[in-house]
Amino acid sequence: MFLTLKELRHEKLKFGALGLIIFLIVFLVLFITGLANGLANDSGSALKNTSAQTFILQKGSEKRLNRSQLTDADWNKVNHRNAAKLSVAQMTIQKSNKASKKTDIAYFVTDANSFLNPKTINGQKLKNNDNNSVVVSSKLKTDGYKIGDTFKDSTSKKVFKIAGFTDNTAYSHTPVIYLNFKQYQHIAPQNNNFNAIVLQSQLKQKTGYQVVDKQSLIGAIPGYSAEQGSLYLMIGFLYLISLFVLAVFFYIINLQKLSDFGTLKALGTSTPYLVRHVITEMGLLSLISILLSFAITYLIKLVLPASMPFSLSSGVLLGTGGLFILITLLSALLSLIKVIKIDPITAIGGNN
């Protein structure tokens, strides 16, 4: 620690620049991770946030809710405890008094007594015996909707009242509106079908149907895999790039100090002491940079507009930080080998 602190203090510029690089990389990774998670939520949080585990779809619907059509006959045939019917319809609504202000939404139609009925953050829950009051995603607040407001379904012209808001649920980048089946009849009168039978338990297969778990159903939402795939590819490359960039920088910095390490060894400094010195130096530097990027990411998150989906849980934050500490230590490895190998004899004879 003695050497480490003295050196960090004396070489402010050098280590400051290195710290800045680590900070920028970690910040970029956090930002893209947050964006990827935000987009993922925006794409499938209406499904992700439920306790649903398994979705039973019509055979051949390729894991897509909108391609699956099930009937009451199917419902009776599956006949599973703790099951719920689900219909999803992507439509457009508008403010009742202002036809020009339209919003794309997704209706989630379900039995209000089933586990799919969402908890509300304010207002009332969805009820089966109410023709008019619905629960909507809090994302609609950004469009100016409040509890008690009404909206009109653009196709059927049916008017609903907002009874409650549920937490930030979205499907395929549109806010979700929860209806019971009776309310859905007003929008699609001739349609008695639904899209899926949803289970809270695991199920591997069911003859005559396609059985999908929640994660693969979310993955099959149009656009989801493409977005996530390219973002995570970028994140992966960033980790790889940072590993190499940091390794090269550490190596160069420690190479410059190799003769000092030789002298220190000749004077009687043990190799473990020097190894600890290098590790503490790199570890401390990356820790400070990582904490700094945490702080900046947090500030950015505060000023980011709601229309830009961004989500970073503290778990992901700590995970990314831990991974980067690991990467810095890994990239210090090359330098450590050099430090371990340097022969103190180089200090004698003036040939260094």
């Binding site: 003695f2 004396h10 000749a266 004077l267 009687g268 200090a347 004698i348 003036g350």
Partner: protein
């Protein structure tokens, strides 16, 4: 009693198919309070001999006795500990650590050796460096740097001081001053010291002179 004694030291370096015998049957001894000099032409093996004395290099055969203990076959770890606690080095280019202030150069040695020895600032003041305690090495002159290196070699109260051409990077006046300081400190603190030098003009300051030529060492004075 002799602080350091070399008995029939041989050092070979592999040289392609052949072996290059750099040191051939060398015997040497230095007493407490004695300042010895080793002179000889370039490539004669002076630095090699000094690294063997300083437990930086293991001889091919022969024994090195420091205070009566054979140190010629210690492990690397034991060698490092020995260098820290029993031997003080003064290098040609002083080799100060660039990011340590002058007083910290000495304090670092005290810290890692865990020996409660002397007062770093007092030692530096005695060598006329009282105004430089909180400077970094890059602002010091060559002579000042070498004085710091001397202070660093002595701070830990080792029994043996080894110096490899400590005056090589100094002009003759500064060089003589530096050797004078080593001489005085060796005598005051009753240490044994061995200095390799090319500079004939400082030889009047040492107590004994050894000449190495063609791998063989003989006492001249």
């Amino acid at each position: 009693m002799s602080v350091l004694e070399l008995k029939s030291i041989i050092k070979n370096y592999p040289d392609g198919q052949l072996v290059n015998e750099v040191l051939k049957d060398i015997s040497f001894t230095v007493e407490k309070g004695e300042f010895a000099a080793i002179v000889g032409p370039s490539g004669a093996g002076k630095s090699t001999l000094l690294t063997i004395m300083g437990a930086l290099l293991t001889p091919s055969s022969g024994s090195v006795l420091l205070n009566g203990h054979d140190i010629s076959h210690l492990s690397k770890k034991q060698q490092t500990e020995l260098r820290l606690n029993e031997i003080g080095f003064i290098f040609q280019n002083s080799d100060l650590i660039p990011y340590l202030k002058i007083s910290d150069q000495l304090k670092f040695i005290q810290k890692i050796s865990k020996k409660e020895t002397g007062n770093a600032e007092e030692v530096l003041t005695k060598l006329g460096l009282q105004n430089r305690l909180h400077s970094y090495p890059n602002v010091l002159s060559g002579g000042e740097k070498q004085r710091v290196a001397i202070a660093r070699a002595f701070i830990n109260q080792p029994d043996l001081i080894l110096a490899d051409e400590p005056t090589a990077s100094l002009d003759s006046k500064r060089g003589r001053e530096v050797v004078q300081i080593i001489q005085q400190t060796v005598h005051q603190e009753d240490k044994a010291a061995v200095m390799v030098t090319h500079d004939e003009r400082v030889l009047d300051l040492v107590d004994s002179i050894w000449q190495i030529e063609d791998g063989r060492l003989k006492k001249v004075r």
